[in-house]
Symmetry: C2
Subunit: 201 residues, 2 copies
Amino acid sequence: MARRVLVASRNAKKLGELRRILAEAGVEGLEIVGLDEVPPYEEAPETGATFEENALAKARDGAAATGLACVADDSGIAVDALNGMPGVLSARWSGRHGDDPANNDLLLGQLSDVPDERRGAQFVSACALVADGREVVEIGEWPGHIARKPAGDGGFGYDPLFVPDGGTVSAAELTPAEKDAASHRGRALRALLPALAALAE
Amino acid sequence: MARRVLVASRNAKKLGELRRILAEAGVEGLEIVGLDEVPPYEEAPETGATFEENALAKARDGAAATGLACVADDSGIAVDALNGMPGVLSARWSGRHGDDPANNDLLLGQLSDVPDERRGAQFVSACALVADGREVVEIGEWPGHIARKPAGDGGFGYDPLFVPDGGTVSAAELTPAEKDAASHRGRALRALLPALAALAE
């Protein structure tokens, strides 16, 4: 029987991403479930100062509440000209949680006078696994820069403004497979694979 | 005859502040004039990465264009939980230059989940003097924290949200004299007094 692993998220894309990464790596014997498939529990607010702190807090909460192994992530964009912000505030940069268009507009406005050579940015993801009293956190980074206008319909968050290094198109113009292969969360999740594979044994 | 010193600003409050500080220090023989009292010249955009860089660029421009000694400042607020931002982007944090209410609302929204112990902030001012081929830049800091709601009608910018260390009222609740005595710009301008006094001789 497969061992259930909770992903502390209601985002079907995140669940699918982890399932694909496990399948590609040949890790079998894990059943990935989301927050909608377990009894509800109180989720602590994300008030940590770092991605690691938030990811670990979410994974601890999920593991403690359900008794399952729990994977949680906290991700965002770190813009050089903003000293690494929006960072942990990426999803609520405009003051309204999850308002992607407002967050993108605000970031463009803040950077309107910032010259090309200072528009560097990194997507950053911390992915935590809490299981059997063990805790692991892995960080993935995806370097690039902030464009002068949005492009593309794919992805979410700041993807339309983020042009990964080595290319000329935005993250929102990549296919899901291209994004999985390169993205910050993909990198962090793949770094967790050994710990996940150990659960499956 | 008094020597004219250009303050690279159209803000009457800034001109008045420097005049008061000179008078209090007993520095005579300088006539402080603003940008509206000299022939217009092209002002470079403030695209520097630091307050020092912007203040110095403004003072160089003013001195080169007018032949006068020129004082310029760049000031803003550095919020700990935002890695020192808004910083040089303080006046356009909301994406609209000089929109104080929008900037204040945005900062409050961004910090809404940030706990009291991580709400520290500093007002920072860099004041530059360029005269007779000499350049001086002085930095003034005013430490405090960001309140949960605005208070007071005085001042400008982020004053209603900023509670200086050692007190319980916002910078917008101080009298102009109290603010002069404590503020970042007052501190930076007073640090420039020896260089200004030398001009008067």
